[in-house]
Amino acid sequence: MSETGYVLEARGVVKVFGNHVALDKVNFGLMPGEVHALLGENGAGKSTLIKVLTGAYQPDGGEVLVESQPVTLNNPQHAQTYGIGTVYQEVNLLPNRSVAENLYLGHQPTRYGFVDRRRMERDARTVLARYGLDLDPGSELGTHSVAVQQIVAIARAVELSGKVLILDEPTASLDRNEVERLFDVVRSLKAQGLAVVFITHFLDQVFAIADRVTVLRNGRLIETRALTDVTRTDVVRLMLGKDISFSGATALEEARPAGEVLLDFRNYGRKRSVHPFNLTIHKGEVIGVAGLLGSGRTEMARIMFGADPADEGEVRVAGQKTAIDNPTDAISRGFGFCPEDRKAEGIFGELSVRENIVIALQGKLGWFSALNRDEQMEIAGRFGEAMDIRAASLDMPVKLLSGGNQQKVILSRWLATDPAFLILDEPTRGIDVGAHAEIVRTINRLRDEGLALVVISSELDEVVAYSSRIVVMRDREMVAELHGENINPGVIVQAIASNQTGASA
């Protein structure tokens, strides 16, 4: 051990992308046996910092030290040899390989030079059992849900890290139980003397598990503090550099007079996907959708939007019976849909921010009435500003934006189409408090403007804050519709939990 006592340390680290300084002389130190929360707004540089610390990026200045010895980490594998294991922001595993192989890739036990598959699967089973997962380690990872994949990724990083475990937003796609399970694991690792870095936008979780917290803003280190010394408001203030009213504080929505009926789904469903459901949606109303992970919320949203066409029941739009067989149908009737998997289904990485914003509107206009460049610039500029998108230029590829800003781009895309009905699937996942509040505000504003919205969210506080009504999904079936004073976390949890049969992992 060294004088500073840090197992892993960044000293004056600088990282520049083009002419954007993502990290500006950041110092960051990790003690053994601590859980260290890394906080900051979207684009603050959290992911970049850990990529530098784990060899995925090379710093443009400053140095990385392991146990006070300066080191050059060439790649993540090299970092692993120092006992540094990482789960990156997006689930980064191999859906085409078995669960066991995903756990041990690169370190598979061998016998006579060949992979000892039996032993590997046996070990995998033991490891997964610690996370409460009981599944066939020989099965293809891609056949399991995102949550399971996330846990496998965490298990893998834990297995490989002797000294440091870095988790970049590991809980974004986990439900409460799974988060609890994860925290148990983290606590036991901490007890074994591991240093854990934990990036999240959930302040609750920070206070539940972390010992110290480091806050980044615009690529600069703001402060590192022991959590015992700070309150929530302190942390938020550090992140934003100003005070804001937290979304949870918004008053409960009173029962408002519903507008006229916009949509009416009758026995709407899809075989092997979502049980037929009935739902009437009025103008100026937000319907919150609650449910456990994998309860079929996303699938319901996709059916409403025609991404997976319904095969039973009917839908009326403003009283007219119509068929919505594909997104084009839906969009032409004023629907919009922000999917939950931003990277895979939302953004066009190579295309510019401008094109990403205008594309749905252009899709609505059709092939032959093209918006010219100036019109595109105007539209993109208008919505970019309204949503406070932070981008060096509207012509830069959207893939270079941070996650939260990408989400705002997609929201802008739909707002540009002047929709009557918006479906938002986890719009605040992986988004910092500032942007979070902004999106909640936007939802409220849109509702007041007379839009109908369906918002899927795993954050109960949030759903409660803006919903006029809440529907609860369980096992791919709509099991409850809550009104008025029933809209509170307790009742929702009750509805989700009642008669809980075989909820998946």
């Binding site: 990482t86 890739l105 061998t110 992979v115 099965s139 891609g142």
Partner: protein, 325 residues
Amino acid sequence: MSRSLRPLLATAVIFAIAYGLSVMQFPGMFSTRVLGNFLTDNAFLGITAVGMTFVILSGGIDLSVGAVIGFTGVLVAVLISWMGLHPLVAFAIALIVAAVFGGLMGLAIHALEVPSFIVTLAGMFLARGGASVITQDSVPINHPFYDWISDLLIRLPGGGRLSFIGLLMIAVFVVGALVAHRTRFGSYVYALGGNTVSASLMGVPVARTTVAVYMLSSVLAALAGIVFSLYTSAGYPLAAVGVELDAISAVVIGGTLLAGGYGFVLGTFIGVMLLGLVQTYIIFDGTLSSWWTKIVIGVLLFLFIVLQRLIFAASAPGEKVAEKA
């Protein structure tokens, strides 16, 4: 796993049925001679296809293999016939040259971030051009060692022969299958085909694996070139034109997903045999013009990809996999 096993099974069943029907029409096709010929005649294609399987599993493609076969044949022939080297020395040199060649292609693909299609296309022009620069003529090889290897064969009852090169192909398939399915290197190859970014973040040595995969493909193509030179006792710069397409077809028919990440080496073997079967059938029939070979292989390809498509579509959760870059 079972999902990717299904196309393999389908290929095997279709081969069995097709072979059965052919034998019903031409009983002569069920003989040790024809079976032996299957192995001998397709040896170089099979060996090439093993390398191609690795490349395709890793998510790439190698268009240069046919040209490498031609180049190796010429190189070996020139080294033996003109320079008077012993064939084994010539083989070693050829394999080393191919390894360097493939390694460079892999390096270019990795370092320049250029699609394999275009890099190996350049490699194809280079190897084919290099062969014609060395000689334009077919160079015969007359060496006792070659005669000795030609005589290394197991005669089967019924006039069939198990030749050295046929057995060599089987050996390559066995080793190939072991490497692909039972070693760390094999799992790296599948990892690359699954998702390069994930693989690299999971600590797969992407550069090294990419280089190794193309090296392997070129080395196996060179081995196929050596086999081809044993098969024809000569080196010819225009040998094996278009073999890359046959190899790709065999791999695809064998149930390997061209996008990478799914497939089996054994499937490729059946794919090679099925292509051989079509040709043999058309030869046995003897009235079908050559264009029917092309049309039939086209139709077969179509049937197999549609079949695979149906199988993969029937098990939906893999959908996202197909969408990946």
